[in-house]
């Protein structure tokens, strides 16, 4: 069976771009967001998805199944995929993942499968589930500057049509907590991994020098590092999941990424945590929150 490579990052952290780029390496099959492992069984996962108005199941998983099991991402194949899942609601989520990873290996012959589900970074028990199911998995931790992530989350919250005004305000007030909480979950989780099982990269470094960063990831995973292989990683738009899927499973990746999947290098202007907690929205934080946020940011290479 192919070996699992799992991307760990909170939402709005370039995770769709970076995971699709890594997944374009010739020896890796890059999935969209499968969401399988958020719950123990497939039945619980489907229930979780339906609460989020994904009535047929996780769009990323349905797209991957349509692609690998039924020969292409069409609306009909997505319906077949959802029927297949409904007949296996009693299955453990890890068994569904193993099944789809086997299919990827059978179809593409790649020794690695890359999965990313940003929601997992909020769920310690789900992270543990992944570790127990695949003890030899590799983990790529992708970070983004906390102040930039907060801005991106604010924008996402303000334009989310599913939220009423009160929900929006509540989320805007607490959005900054998402960064330290998810980073802490990931760091605690990774502290018990075997040496060499974990790599951390800054999303901003990928934008600034993608070739070097992707080469480092390939080298760390023991994969090909020749120019041809690395150049494949710089073309995320070639992934079968980088475009809009069929109408009944359209996304499975960040909508912004899907609307513009090409990699565009650049040096994003980074915010300042010190400024944020002294004159910005974080000035009302208690001293312990300010100190904690700054220490964690510094530890991850941000000021």
């Amino acid at each position: 069976m192919a070996r699992l490579m799992m991307m760990l990052s909170p939402p709005r952290s370039f995770s769709s771009l970076v995971s699709t780029m890594i997944g374009q390496h010739p020896e890796i099959y890059g999935f969209p967001e499968l969401h399988c492992m958020v719950r123990e069984t497939m039945g619980e996962t489907m229930k979780w998805e339906r609460k989020r108005e994904k009535w047929l199941g996780p769009p990323g998983l349905l797209r991957a199944m349509a692609e690998l099991m039924y020969g292409g991402q069409t609306a009909e194949n997505v319906m077949d995929a959802t029927s297949w899942l409904e007949e296996r609601l009693h299955w453990k989520s890890k068994d569904i993942m193993n099944f789809i990873m086997d299919k990827a290996e059978e179809v593409e012959g790649t020794p690695f499968c890359l999965e990313k589900t940003p929601t997992l970074s909020f769920l310690p028990e789900a992270l543990e589930r992944v570790r127990q199911a695949w003890p030899d998995a590799l983990y790529v931790h992708v970070t983004r500057h906390p102040v930039n992530l907060k801005k991106s989350m604010d924008e996402f919250i303000l334009h989310n049509p599913r939220l009423d005004d009160e929900e929006k305000q509540n989320r805007l007030d607490k959005a900054m907590a998402a960064w330290p909480v998810t980073q802490r979950n990931i760091l605690d989780f990774c502290s018990r991994l075997e040496p060499g099982q974990y790599i951390r990269i800054r999303g901003e470094d990928v934008l600034a020098d993608a070739f070097t960063t992707m080469k480092q990831v390939a080298e760390w995973a023991g994969l090909r590092t020749d120019d041809e292989a690395i150049n494949c990683m710089l073309r995320p738009e070639d992934s079968p999941y980088a475009n809009l899927g069929p109408p009944n499973a359209a996304f499975g990746n960040d909508p912004k990424f899907i609307s513009s999947p090409k990699f565009r290098p650049g040096n994003p202007r980074m915010g300042s945590v010190a400024e944020y907690v002294t004159t910005g929205a974080g000035k009302n934080f208690s001293p312990d929150r300010k100190a904690y946020l700054m220490q964690l940011a510094n530890m991850l290479g941000y000021e």
Binding site: S83, P124, E167, P180
Partner: protein, 195 residues
Amino acid sequence: MAHQKKKGDSPASKSGDELRSPSTADMPDLAESALNMFAAERDLLLTGDLPDSALPQSEEEYVSRDPFSADYVEFRLSETRHRNEKQAKVNTKVRADLLEQPHLLEKPAESGSRGAAAIWRSLRDMLREESHTVMDNSGLQELLMLKRELETRKRIVEAVNEGLANQLKRLEQRLSVYDKEATQIVPAKVEIKKD
């Protein structure tokens, strides 16, 4: 290991010069204390029993882990509270309206997807499983019954198809009185800034 203060070490017992600059005699003590502390922590790490997971194992552990984790738990609770309140409000205020208009009981997107899924499943089962099993393992009588059943279903599907086509035609006529632009499904606008 913390640096132990000795009697007579208090600032009050030192002269002004000694207070302004630490005496060089103290430096080896600091270095030694740091080394001892490191050695103790290293021994603890190497010999002590570390838990299998460093992640919090209970909600109390999660809340007490750091101030932002506590904020996050509070946020999740307030979200659930708000969602339940909203649901209760809908249940009490709109119940009468919903009873009069049962098609509003479910969200259109949900019922649409569920309906489509159910129709697809039933057609797929009919096409792939039931009929094949009967065709492969049945005698003449059963085959004739299956033929009648499939012809009936075919007529039903054709009738539904025709009915849907008529409804869509009628809907188009209704939509034709509106502004053409308002009835189009407009794709999301993507603004690309040019440097």
